[in-house]
């Protein structure tokens, strides 16, 4: 009986440890998703305010851009900052909101509709953004404006 009790005790502690571990794992997953969501919200805010500075910190060393075919390819963080700044100064955002945000994946992505003014004429475009984990931080992997 004593032996059984000790086994039971051990099992309990193992189960508790396992539960804690799984919780941690889930929490960690959840926290990473939240972090990704925050990055998307920051990007959304930056585009709405026409301020690339608000999300410039999330540029990685190589970012893939495809901006209405004006700039297509991989660009360094330096280039990315000025390319987007120039792009939004020519196409001034009126409003932007991510309509689809998928964070429960290894490469979270989101897309939304951008309303902007180009030479006084109101236009719309779809923005697609995906993230990647670099050194345990979410960084922008791709921005496509179509």
């Amino acid at each position: 009986m004593k032996l059984n009790l000790s086994i039971m005790k051990n099992c309990k502690s193992i189960i508790i440890i396992l539960v804690i571990f799984l919780c941690n794992l889930l929490f960690a997953q959840d926290s990473k998703s939240k972090e990704a969501l925050n990055v998307f919200l920051r990007i959304e805010e930056g585009i709405n305010d026409n301020s690339v500075d608000k999300f410039a910190a999330y540029f990685s060393l190589k970012n893939y851009f495809s901006l209405n075919n004006s700039a297509v390819g991989y660009f360094s963080d330096n280039q990315s900052y000025y390319i987007l700044k120039d792009y939004f100064s020519i196409n001034q955002p009126v409003s932007f909101k991510f309509s689809n945000i998928i964070t429960e994946t290894s490469n979270p992505f989101a897309s939304g509709t951008l309303k902007f003014i180009h030479k006084g004429i109101r236009k719309t475009a779809t923005i697609f953004v995906s993230l990647q984990l670099i050194d345990n931080k979410w960084k922008i992997s791709q921005i496509t404006v179509n």
């Binding site: 280039q79 020519i90 290894s106 030479k119 179509n146």
Partner: protein
């Protein structure tokens, strides 16, 4: 600056200030006026645009009418052989179709889109109308051509709009019209289109030559807010410009009025330049005005200095400002001789300074490397991959930037190195230890890089950098070259180092690109692709079918606008009707046709797993209700998850700019490796065993990524291996031959060629600016010799190169056509043997794409989508038809451009069909291209040209030197200086001439001495006679008077007192006469009078130095400024300086340095030599007349110098003298009126 000019500047400043204030008030006024007149203005604007658009279309109609008339005449003349007309319209943009009276096509040109005449068009005879076919819209004119025998229908067309544009460079008539009018408009090319009544758009009909409506054009209404923004922008811009002008005016006033101090003036100038640059940066000038590739941050941008170099043009401006500041700093350093001041520092400070300067020097090297790294890594320009012989403006600008940056860093390094060498020369004699200094510097450079985590550049480039800077520094110290010559060699050195760094970082970037390429392969996961399919399907509603009226083109348009296109994914877009019959499709992958897709109403994403070739397919289907029918839209994507599609035509590839585009994908191998096996063996024949072990270990150890060198197909490949997170544990490898990363001479020349052009342009600019000063050089023997040498050297090189270039071009074409011919013959023999039932099987078997024509009609094409979207015509090329069908030729070679892609085709006749094989899909062209050869050729030529210029300069210098020397010596002799000799070391005709000349001068000198001796003796004799005569005159009466006085005394004459008085008075008078005679003789022998005049000391010293140019001895001037004007006797001064320099040379000196410095009240001239010095006991005697230690000479030179300098209130003294040399100091006061 002149007072009148200063007054004008003051006035202009006031005007500018007023301008700024007025503009501030003008802005709201302009806006208010705009608001009031907006309704009228906007209508006028729209009407104006309408008029212009209609005018442009009318012009096109007229062009079409004229061309049709000419072609009609041509047809009537050449009815028997219409193909003769092809030559006449070969270069024309007309699409020509000639139909017979049964509406069949009987003649056409290269541009064609119709094979039978649509009879509904007959109602539009002689009037212009639009036809839209496969996404292309044409303006057409249909005419009846009646000849003596037959009736024809002639349809001539011009392309107006094209929805199938694969290349961004392609522009259509409507694109050009939009750019020209700077307006947003859309044209519905349908005569039945209705005029829109949308309040946001203004619609109007387009009218043809019969005044019928043929299309409807809609222009977006201009908005008032946009106009307000424009007013704000332009008024702001004017204010910014005025502010900058104001700043420039204020700076010039401060510099000219506030101070006379050279240092403060230049300090303010530097400060002004910095503020001006910052002002331009904050005002966004010129980036807000220029909106092109020069200001595009994709081409270069760095966040350095808060973005002061955020585009190629900003970098150029910043570089120019820095170069200006460096020039000013150089001037300040020269003027103040800091090097001399540093030498007087105590020992500890001296060593500390040496260490600090060394550190700065090495940091300059590091900064240089880092900047060039940024130019490669922060730029989308691929200097070596996208190079053109006539470079694009942005490439030219960035290449110039590299040159300027190189110049900046090398100039800074040279300044610091000058300090280091000057300091070192204080301790140790520079002459003997120069090589040791150089080696020490190299060792320190090596250690500096060795102890760094990320050193810049390579060992070799650092050695080159140090060697070049050391050479420039040495040349600066040793020789007194002209500023222009210094600039040229600095620029050449800068170019070599910067291009070397650029090629190095480019190869590093290519290595990085292997990694990016691998990451790109796994970048897209299933969820992203599903999402993209979902989004593309949802986008269908944005495609206006009514306007396109062709489902193939709709599918193409859907692909063109989708995210899937930007990802280079293999896909199939297909549209079915409600009976599931195919209406149209676009695909860039033949394989996707082979799958079975389940059609569904609701949008669903399906997955087909294909276990055989590791390629999965994701597809989505949705039904749409259109006006007339229900359709199903299918989008299927090859989801390889590992490797990119290899068989995709280059026409449909999305070659983006950016970091990965640096990778030349033609020699890159991508493969997927699993334990002990390759997934994709299409390109790889073998991997050796040791390499297999390395790859296996990588997977077994679960290493996420690594850089490997493995042997593939017996070649060493540099490989980036990335472990995919998929359950199969795929190792994605991207490899490139190691030899491709080695330093490439051709790459080096690509940029060096541009630099050579820039340097030559600068040289020409300099010559043009200074044409007056250097005009005489143009006619000099040396220039003529240099130019002749350059021409003689370059002409044969250019001719031979041009010949080789043509030969290579022909050879390349021959090889390309030969390969295509072999493929065509192979297909022909299969068809003749009837080995296969249909053409598709032949295509699968031979893996060759080909086309088959029967008569003039296309009956088979392996890539159907090219016909579906109208890239390839359904009719055979008329020239080929003429040659093969009419002229009965067996084979014909043809070259054409399809969507900006050069395509070579071979046509072969086989029974009643014609087979065409072309290289439209050949992504690899292994033969040496004309372009590659051109690059090499022009690179080598530019290098040769600079080398020839330098070598010819050297040789012409060598050849013309004795002539120049002879001319100078002759001038000196003419001026009375017979001591000079022509020194020639060679043993040629010049040497004989020089010896003869020297003998002649020797004889003249000897004769001159004899004559002088004789003249002196004669003069003395004459003088003695004159003196005797003059003295005799008063002496005789004196003698007589004294005799009279003695006689009177002896006679005790009563008149003795009277006689005594009279005699003594007369004697005294005679003595006075003697004194006067003596004074007159003294005055006669006295030195000539001094004639004071305003003289530029620097120019005067340079004149004297000119006399010693060819004496194998160095005389150098160091003047703090370009001009020092004083009041002296120029001839006396030159004579004095000449004497002092000669004294130095006679004291065994071979180097004399003359330093001129200006203080508040005097000019200080120091003559420093490296002679044996003056013995201590003689120092006090050197200025005494007749003192000389030389065997020859009168010893009067130094005393005369002292006499002259003191006569102008100056001072001359021996500042120091030792066995290492002597310094003589002369001080000349500055007069108040100077």
């Amino acid at each position: 600056m002149k007072k009148s000019l200063l007054k004008a500047v003051d006035g202009f400043t006031l005007v500018v200030v007023l301008g700024i204030i007025i503009i501030s008030f003008l802005n709201p006024l302009l806006k208010s006026n705009k608001q009031k007149s907006w309704e009228k203005e906007s209508k006028e604007f729209l009407f104006e645009i309408r008029e212009k658009i209609q005018d442009k279309f009318d012009e096109k109609s007229k062009y079409l009418l004229k061309a049709s008339y000419q072609i009609e005449n041509g047809i009537k003349k050449n009815e028997d052989n219409l193909f003769v007309l092809l030559r006449e319209i070969k270069e024309s943009d007309i699409y020509l179709h000639l139909f017979d009276d049964k509406y069949n096509l009987i003649f056409w040109n290269e541009n064609n889109f119709m094979d039978t005449l649509d009879q509904s068009l007959l109602s539009k005879l002689n009037q212009t109308f639009f036809i839209t076919e496969k996404g292309k819209t044409y303006l057409n004119l249909l005419k009846v051509v009646q000849t003596n025998f037959k009736k024809y229908y002639l349809l001539n067309s011009v392309l107006i709009d094209d929805l199938i544009k694969l290349n961004k460079k392609q522009t259509t008539f409507t694109d050009k019209l939009k750019d020209l009018l700077n307006a947003e408009f859309e044209i519905d090319f349908d005569e039945s289109a209705t005029i829109e009544k949308d309040g946001r758009k203004y619609s109007f009909p387009l009218i043809n030559n019969f005044k019928n409506k043929i299309a409807v054009c809609s222009i977006s209404y201009p908005t008032l807010s946009y106009e307000f923004n424009r007013i704000d922008f332009y008024t702001g811009l004017i204010q910014k410009f005025l502010s900058i002008i104001l700043f420039l005016l204020l700076s010039s006033i401060i510099i000219n009025k506030v101070t006379d101090s050279f240092f403060i003036k230049n300090f303010i100038l530097i400060l002004s330049l910095i503020i001006l640059r910052l002002a331009l940066f904050f005002f966004e000038i010129p980036s807000s005005i220029l909106n092109n590739e020069l200001t595009n941050p994709a081409n270069f941008s760095s966040r350095f200095g808060y973005g002061i170099v955020s585009s190629p043009f900003e970098l150029f401006l910043t570089s120019l400002f820095i170069i200006n500041i460096i020039f000013i700093l150089n001037k300040i350093i020269k003027k103040n001789s800091y090097e001399n001041k540093l030498k007087s520092l105590p020992d500890i400070s001296f060593y500390i300074l040496i260490v600090i300067f060394l550190f700065i020097y090495l940091m300059i090297w590091r900064g240089f490397g880092a900047t060039l790294r940024s130019i490669i890594y922060d730029s989308a320009i691929r200097y070596f991959k996208e190079f053109n012989l006539v470079p694009e403006p942005v490439v030219l600008l960035m290449s110039t930037n590299m040159l300027l940056i190189g110049f900046i860093f090398i100039s800074c390094a040279v300044i610091i190195l000058n300090f280091i060498l000057s300091l070192a020369s204080k301790k140790w004699t520079i002459k003997n230890l120069l090589i040791i200094y150089f080696l020490l510097l190299q060792i320190i450079g090596f250690l500096f890089d060795y102890f760094q985590k990320l050193p810049q550049g390579t060992f070799l480039i650092r050695v080159i950098f140090i060697s070049f800077t050391f050479t420039i520094s040495y040349l600066n110290l040793k020789y007194n070259h002209t500023e222009f010559f210094k600039l040229i060699y600095k620029l050449i050195f800068s170019s070599i180092v910067s291009v070397s760094l650029l090629t190095y970082y480019n190869s590093e970037l290519e290595k990085d690109s292997l990694k990016n390429y691998a990451l790109d392969i796994i970048r897209l996961k299933e969820p992203q692709i599903s999402f993209m399919i979902y989004q593309t399907i949802e986008n269908y509603s944005s495609i206006n079918f009514e306007k396109i009226r062709d489902y193939d083109v709709v599918a193409f348009q859907l692909w063109k606008k989708s995210l899937l296109k930007t990802e280079d994914l293999s896909l199939l877009i297909r549209i079915y009707d409600e009976n599931k019959n195919k209406l149209g499709e676009f695909t860039n992958s033949i394989e996707l046709n082979e799958y079975n897709y389940n059609l569904s109403e609701e949008l669903k994403i399906h997955k087909i797993k294909n276990v055989f070739n590791e390629k999965n397919v994701l597809y989505g289907i949705k039904s749409f209700d259109e006006k007339k029918q229900k359709i199903y839209l299918l989008i299927a994507v090859h989801f390889n998850n590992t490797l990119p599609e290899k068989n995709m035509s280059s026409l449909f590839r999305n070659e983006g700019k950016g970091i990965t585009s640096s990778l030349d994908k033609s020699n890159v191998l991508t493969f997927c490796y699993q334990l002990n096996g390759l997934n994709n063996l299409s390109e790889i024949l073998s991997i050796d065993e040791s390499s297999l072990k390395i790859l296996n270990n990588h997977i077994l150890n679960k290493t996420k990524e690594s850089w490997l060198t493995i042997k593939i197909n017996n070649d060493s490949y540099y490989t980036y291996a990335l472990l995919d997170e998929s359950p199969n544990a795929n190792l994605i490898c991207v490899s490139k031959p190691v030899k491709n990363f080695s330093w490439n001479l051709s790459d080096f020349f690509k940029i060096f060629f541009i630099h050579a052009l820039v340097i030559l342009s600068l040289a020409i600019l300099y010559i043009l600016i200074n044409i007056k000063n250097i005009k005489s050089h143009f006619y000099s023997f040396r220039t003529k010799l240099s130019v002749t040498l350059i021409i003689i050297s370059l002409i044969p090189i250019i001719f031979i190169s041009n010949y080789v270039r043509t030969v290579i071009d022909d050879y390349n074409k021959k090889i390309a056509f030969e390969n295509l011919k072999n493929d065509a013959l192979k297909i022909r023999s299969i068809i003749l043997n009837k080995s296969y039932n249909n053409y598709e099987s032949i295509c699968d078997q031979t893996k060759n794409n080909f086309q088959v024509y029967e008569n003039n009609k296309l009956v088979f094409i392996s890539q159907k989508n090219l016909v579906n979207i109208g890239i390839i015509s359904k009719n055979i090329n008329p020239e080929v038809y003429y040659k093969i069908v009419i002229n009965k030729e067996f084979i014909h070679y043809y070259e054409q451009n399809i969507s900006e892609l050069n395509v070579k085709s071979v046509f072969i006749k086989t029974n009643n069909i014609i087979i065409e094989v072309n290289d439209i899909n050949s992504s690899q062209r292994t033969y040496l291209s004309k372009f590659d050869f051109d690059l090499f050729l022009f690179g080598v030529l530019s290098f040769l040209m600079l080398s020839v210029i330098i070598v010819s300069y050297f040789f012409s210098y060598k050849i013309s030197k004795p002539i120049k020397e002879l001319s100078i010596v002759t001038n000196s002799i003419a001026n009375g200086d017979l001591s000079l000799k022509v020194e020639v070391n060679s043993k040629d005709e010049f040497s004989e001439l020089a010896n003869a000349f020297n003998n002649m001068t020797k004889k003249i000198r000897e004769n001159q001495i004899e004559i002088a001796q004789f003249e002196r003796e004669s003069a003395w004799k004459e003088m003695a006679r004159q003196v005797a005569h003059e003295i005799k005159n008063p002496l005789t009466p004196m003698k007589l008077l004294i005799q009279q006085l003695i006689a009177s005394y002896n006679d005790n004459s009563e008149k003795f007192n009277e006689i005594f008085y009279k005699v003594t008075k007369t004697i005294l008078n005679q003595i006075e006469t003697l004194k006067n005679i003596a004074s007159e003789f003294s005055n006669f022998a006295r030195m000539p009078n001094i004639k004071l005049e305003k003289v530029d000391l620097v120019s005067s010293v340079n004149d004297v130095i000119g006399l010693f140019t060819y004496q194998n001895k160095t005389v150098k001037i160091n003047a703090g400024c370009n001009q020092v004007v004083v009041n002296i006797d120029n001839d006396h001064f030159k004579r004095t300086l000449n004497n002092l320099i000669r004294n130095s040379f006679e004291a065994d000196a071979d180097y004399v340095e003359i330093n001129i410095n200006k203080s508040n009240d005097e000019i200080v001239i120091k003559i420093k030599d490296n002679g044996k010095g003056i013995p201590k006991e003689n120092i006090s005697k050197v200025f005494i007349p007749n003192f000389s230690t030389k065997g020859t000479g009168m010893g009067l030179g130094m005393s005369m110098a002292k006499h002259f300098i003191e006569s102008i209130n100056g001072k001359i003294e021996i500042e120091s003298t030792s066995s290492n040399g002597t310094i003589i100091q002369i001080k000349i006061p500055i007069l108040k009126d100077e």
